[in-house]
Amino acid sequence: MQNILSLFEYQFFQNALMAAILTSALAALVGTYIVSRKVVFISGGITHASFGGIGIAYFFGLNPFLGAVAFAIASSLGIEWISTHGKIREDSAIAILWSLGMALGIIFVFLTPGYTPNLMSFLFGSILSVGMADIIVLAVVLLFTSLFFVIFSRPIVYTAFDPEFARTRGLPVTLIRNSMAILVAIAIVLSIRVMGIILVLSIFTIPQNTALLFSGKFSGIIKGSVLFGISGSILGLITASIFDIPGSAAIIFVLTLQFLISKGVAIILRKRKKTRKSSATGEEKNSIHEPHIKE
């Protein structure tokens, strides 16, 4: 116990904690949109495509984060365009983008003379090396994204649920969907720092699916995801430090555990509700002794 408490005294752990909380909150918002629209696979494509940007930026001595953002936004908007204009098979296009991004990334990282970056940290994240600059960028983007979601909550839901109807009501559907595509891209790239390319989608999907067990409302899923995401990543980070294992993997483990426990709780709650309802009206007896009459 003392060991755990003393962890919080270290600067690197405080930074990691801040980064985990901010990333989880950002992923809670953006992930709710991704899960609701069922575009998890698309988000995987964007994530992996961004590695191409990282490799190219390294090669030319630029900021790898900016390279990743540029690639992610371009692929996000590209897929949004394909899905509305649909001249090619969308799922195949995503798979091509996915692997091409990774290929470009690895080619350019290998071509970069001298210092080669630690590939493992890109693929699996490196939460313990997060610095103050990362945290400030995360905080600013989270603030902006929260404002966007609060101000445009209705149009976001309307255009995600039924874009054609929204268009008949005069909503600027393309503008809203493209803005969301850009936000998705930025949120994913920022989260790669903590979770890594391969593991990042977990924080955009697992807390959301846990929240879905308790709410069928877009705003309810956001709230639930914030709760489950933040608590899960804090617990995951502590677990990682205790057992000396990678933070991102530990976070996923805790988030999945949360989901499984919640699933159990949800099933029990539903059963209780049913028995309470039927025993209150005496239906339970009837349904056992009298067979339902079919027309």
């Binding site: 149009p155 039924d162 054609e164 929204a166 005069g170 909503l171």
Partner: protein, 246 residues
């Protein structure tokens, strides 16, 4: 006769360069009740999208001779994600959005209007339920409420009766009859029986469009229109549309 609400002139439309509708003409006048029939894949939904302005035609034009009418839309239910996390009330309220107010929060009277429609469409008690918990028929009724909440001058309905249960069917039709007193209705339906008892005129859509200025059609006319419809599924041939031959 007054001027049409919408005028479709020589429209050719489709997807990815392949036309589905060819050289289609149609005028819709205030308080029309137009039944649109035709085989699956004949282009009924495509025609409705051109009319609504969500599909740009390859050639020809859609004009609004008067002021641009407010159009209500009930899409084909199979084209919408039934599991999206949104409540019945929020779905219905989305019909209140307009080009100038879509970003504003909703006024109290809008919510009262939604409550009223929830009662009218038999969805009382389901207002705050996610649409995923509704039956197909209930979901369709919520979408109908969304289509009419903003008092449109033209109501476009794409197969509103696919899932609607027997008990609501009668209510749906009397609701449409009542709505037709204040708005034109463009009703796509598979169910020729529906068409027979409700509509004033009929359009047959199968690549091209044949307008029939009454609600009585004979099998011969349907053949001439090249408008085969599946009659077997509907049991006895509805008397008012298809005159018995022989």
């Amino acid at each position: 006769m007054s001027q049409p609400l919408v005028s479709i002139k020589k429209v050719t439309a489709g997807y990815n360069g392949t036309p589905v509708l060819k050289d289609v003409n149609l005028d819709i006048f205030p308080k029309d009740f137009l039944g649109v029939i035709g085989p699956n894949g004949g282009g009924k939904t495509t025609l409705s999208k051109v009319l609504l302005g969500i599909l740009k035609p390859f050639s020809g034009e859609v004009t609004f001779p008067g002021e641009r009418p407010n159009i209500g839309y009930l899409p084909q239910i199979s084209h919408i994600d039934h599991s999206f996390p949104v409540t019945v009330k929020d779905v219905i309220l989305s019909g209140m959005a307009t080009p100038r107010t879509w970003w504003k929060s909703l006024a109290k009277e809008h919510k009262a209007k939604a409550d009223n429609l929830i009662r009218k469409t038999g969805l009382s008690g389901l207002a705050n339920k996610p649409v995923g918990e509704l039956s197909g028929g209930q979901f369709q009724r919520a979408l109908l409420a969304r289509a009419i909440i903003n008092d449109p001058q033209l109501l476009v309905l794409d197969e509103p009766d696919t899932f609607v249960d027997r008990s609501f069917e009668g209510e749906l039709y009397s609701l449409l009859e009542q709505l037709n007193k204040t708005m034109a209705i463009f009703l796509i339906s598979h169910d020729i029986g529906t068409i027979s008892s409700m509509v004033k005129t009929i359009a047959c859509v199968n690549g091209s469009l044949h307008y029939h200025p009454s609600n009585v059609l004979s099998a011969e006319v349907l053949k001439v229109y090249n408008c085969p419809i599946d009659l077997i599924a509907h049991g006895p041939v509805p008397h008012r549309v298809l005159k018995n031959h022989g």
